[in-house]
Symmetry: C2
Subunit: 419 residues, 2 copies
């Protein structure tokens, strides 16, 4: 069979397990050495393809590639760079095809969220129009769990496990301090538009009075009076109150509780500071002493506490992306299909990119409790399997050891290209 | 031999391993059943003794006590309540002796930091004056690592491991994002007066350019210009900058970078919000996009990532406290004595409380790099062994399982006492 090269790139916010997907892609490519020659990774995502800044993955040892499975972050560099619409920025798309052509790249694996699924689809469409035989596969990734079709997004389960564990641990801390000191603990978690990560905090407890006592979702309009009433009730009844709040918490008019005012390259607002804002309100309205934490990058980089289910799935979608490509399935995404809740069973199924791109999956309304401050049993049943299992990285001298790559560059063949 | 009861209480901010010390105390007491009858734990620390609010530990199973070894927080409740000076508040001290007398308590184990060492000493002195035969032992604990005499404080090693690991993980995240997005990541860590925890962040890297690129200590006067220069250099050279900043970071005149304005029961100011303050300065002065995290309780409750060395030492000081008491060593503290750095060896040695109480151990100046932004090799040699080894708790359904105690109360024998 003819042998051609593959391109792999990481896009958007990274996760604790996106490199496990990279590992799945690369190992599968190596197993199919008869059909796939070299894997070229885009340095800093799609920008690497546009600028012909390619990493020759063939120079990495099998051991280094294996270590990607337990390495957080994006080993080849990611980017927040969304290709513009194809009509007005056709040159960018044509450049991609040129670069692929110059390096005999016939397989395009793009590992990211909704925006990159869209890019992947457009690249696929343009290559078809241009008569270049490219198979484009999107490898799903996002801590936000907001990709459609797939039952869950690789990357989410590990954040969920980290947030649930941290909530449970911190709750024991405040429970022991509350008699004479801190009464309220507020943990801010990621999740710009959807409360999936906040919901995972609720897994920390399960039963009357078990923390967290309050989860604040972006899906439920923030009502200061109602929140304060609940905080006060919790402190009076249990002695303390643990609150998990989404960075996307907002008022009924859509205004975010805290808004840093910055905007990223995708046009999304950069949020942060909800926890201190809410803690300040609680102090002001109720006078309680508080502590607050903002997990930020720690939550999505915490490979040391990854969910084994998540690692396995991240690897599997990477591996299956290659199988799909070799089976000639173009413009597809390997998606997680849940077969059963308990015992949890899943498999990977191909989904057409046209159904995935530019769609966000929100929390179903029946996942949020009637009062708006917690999750329902159906939500718990959905979330519980995703945090199952531990997959600790190797430790050396007390610290987790991560992959160390050579990142050797591929020689450029084309003129430079201005972004 | 005559059999008498023991009292155990937890004081001040809790740690990931203070319950390991409780486990050490209780298991040792159980082994010495010929001399020690019941262990009574103070509910919410010393307040439990003052108000005769005692927990009958004899009703807890061996299995539950064993589980304390891997349970964060303070299982019997802690408190921020410092006994006033003995001259003007003699009644409080006499009340303690009364309660001990009423319950035949002859062994007093107080698990805390510098303030509680002081209380322990005073109780010991007063009981002697009053002719009540009490043996008082202080069991060291503090994440701040600021107790004198002992080579390190149980509780610190696990925070150090958590901060070093989190810094390493988050650094991989920002390294992969920095080409097109976030350039600076700021992690705020605990450590009110001493930079021990901030120093531990430096363990994440070791070598030219390895993050963190900047550690900001309370011991070094904050110089905005110098910090900005260093941040800019790091971004220009490595593409990004990781900063670990102590909550105690302050200007030359002693003003904290961020000051929440609250004061706790010990008269210490409650700090927080240095990370967003510093991140804001960086944005203002240099224009870089930033992310920041405040670990707060997460760092000191993170039993899932405890240092095995720390757990072993926390257990050992608890166990040795009982041995000291039974050997008639009054007003002592079991301290960690370092025997060698590499291979790391340590043993427990008794230290007189008079030498421990009310003293804070600061970072030696030669532990901080000449430029003030990092640690020296001698500091690394000191810190490295303290984070060694993993001691993961058992997990069930994807979450760490912690001790669940009955916390049965002891029947009161005395009139109520107003605090």
């Amino acid at each position: 069979m003819a042998q051609h090269n593959a391109f792999y790139a990481q896009s958007g916010g990274v996760t604790a397990v996106i490199n496990a997907s990279a590992c799945g892609v690369i190992e599968a490519c190596r197993r199919h050495g008869d059909r796939i020659g070299k894997v070229y990774a885009g340095h800093n995502g799609i920008i690497g393809a546009l600028t012909e800044d390619l990493i020759d993955v063939s120079q990495e040892s099998d051991e280094a590639i294996r270590a990607l499975r337990h390495t957080p972050g994006g080993a080849f560099g990611s980017c927040r760079y969304k290709l513009k619409d194809i009509e007005s920025h056709r040159a960018q798309y044509e450049r991609l095809i040129e670069v692929f052509k110059a390096h005999d790249i016939r397989y395009f694996f793009y590992n990211g969220g909704g925006d990159s699924a869209d890019t992947c689809l457009k690249v696929s469409q343009l290559s078809e129009k241009m008569g270049y035989p490219l198979t484009a596969i999107h490898v799903p990734k996002t801590v936000d769990n907001d990709l459609p079709i797939t039952d869950n997004s690789p990357g989410f389960g590990s954040v969920a496990k980290y947030i649930a564990t941290s909530t449970r641990e911190a709750a024991l801390d405040i429970a022991s301090m509350c008699a004479t000191s801190t009464k309220v603990f507020v943990l801010e978690v990621m999740g710009r538009h959807a409360g999936w990560i906040a919901a995972a905090g609720a897994l920390a407890g399960n039963g009357e009075g078990e923390p967290p006592h309050l989860v604040i979702f972006p899906e439920v309009a923030f009502d200061r009076g109602a929140v304060m009433k609940r905080v006060e009730e919790s402190v009076k009844r249990y002695g303390y109150c643990v609150v998990v709040v989404s960075e996307g918490a907002r008022y009924a008019d859509g205004t975010f509780l805290a808004d840093a005012g910055n905007t990223d390259a995708f046009g999304h607002r950069q949020l942060g500071g909800v926890a201190p804002t809410l803690a300040g309100m609680i102090k002001q309205d109720l006078g309680y002493k508080y502590h607050w934490a903002v997990a930020d990058y720690l939550q999505r980089a915490a490979r040391h506490l990854a969910s084994k289910t998540d690692v396995d799935q991240a690897y599997a979608v990477g591996r299956e992306a290659v199988e799909l490509a070799l089976a000639g399935k173009n413009a597809m995404m390997p998606a997680i299909k849940r077969v059963s809740d308990d015992p949890y069973e899943w498999r990977v199924e191909a989904a057409p990119l046209a159904e995935v791109a530019n769609k966000e999956k929100f929390m179903p309304r029946d996942f949020i409790r009637e009062d708006g401050f917690g999750i329902t049993p159906v939500c718990r049943r959905y979330l519980a399997p995703l945090i199952q299992g531990e997959d600790f990285p190797p430790f050396e001298n007390g610290l987790p050891m991560f992959a160390s790559l050579k990142l050797a560059k591929v020689e450029r063949k084309l003129p430079t290209f201005e972004l």
